[in-house]
Symmetry: C2
Subunit: 145 residues, 2 copies
């Protein structure tokens, strides 16, 4: 099922796109629902899906040294998960697991990457917001939060 | 003095641009030289210049908690310094100080941002590499290196 393009306006990285551009992205999207404890993606795996969370709570974990993955964050509400699927080498840099039943739009990362390459105004606009998110994460990591 | 556009090919984020695009960027650049202990930019200041280092060694410092800036890295060789001038809100997120006499190309950040907005293929190409650099930095910070 193709998603409603207007749903994308809930997420800042798609907000400055044209209606046509959002339509093209929505063609790559499908509604998904996760039960508690379901793993959305695993650190190090090939980045196949970008998740646009819209309900539920998801735990983000990283492998830090030995001893397996540690929880570093929980996200809920209208959040984008798995941004690294849009950055070479296109692998997940964290693990995401549903803490509660959750709903999201699942965007096909390979198709989205093709859209970004073919239409640089679309690519540029999405990247611009992703860069802000990455810079915010760097600031948080530095401050140890 | 306008810089030689071919100089930009030393830096990965400008390597995939066309000759014309590199020419346009070179128009915003000038050669600069720093003495030891000179501060290239300060954390929190408005991002006016992107530096393309080509000789010398530069210390990167961040304010972490109280007690003033701490050295977190030293860079040398063909490195790009001050990437955050291309990411909203366009301020420096670190302080850079010359550890030795150093030479760089200084790119006017405001002009570069205009070029990126006007020519999205140029903007997309530069951002693509910047995102990789940011993601690498996040990995390093996580691993505590």
């Amino acid at each position: 099922m193709v998603a409603d393009p207007e749903r994308l306006t809930r997420y800042e990285c798609f907000r400055n796109l044209t209606v046509e551009q959002r339509k093209a992205i929505a063609e790559t999207a499908e509604e998904v629902c996760f039960y508690q404890d379901h793993t959305l993606f695993k650190e190090g795996a090939a980045g196949e899906t970008l998740f646009l969370l819209h309900s539920g709570e998801v735990q983000i974990l990283y492998n830090i040294g030995e001893g397996g993955p540690a929880q570093v964050d929980t996200v809920s509400g209208n959040e984008v998960l798995g941004c690294s699927v849009l950055i070479e080498p296109f692998t997940y840099t964290s693990t995401a697991r549903a803490l509660t039943q959750s709903e999201a739009l699942a965007l096909d990362a390979a198709q989205l990457r093709v859209l970004m390459e073919q239409d640089c105004s679309l690519g540029y606009s999405i990247q611009k917001r992703l860069m802000q998110m990455l810079l915010d994460r760097i600031t948080d990591l530095r401050l140890g939060s």
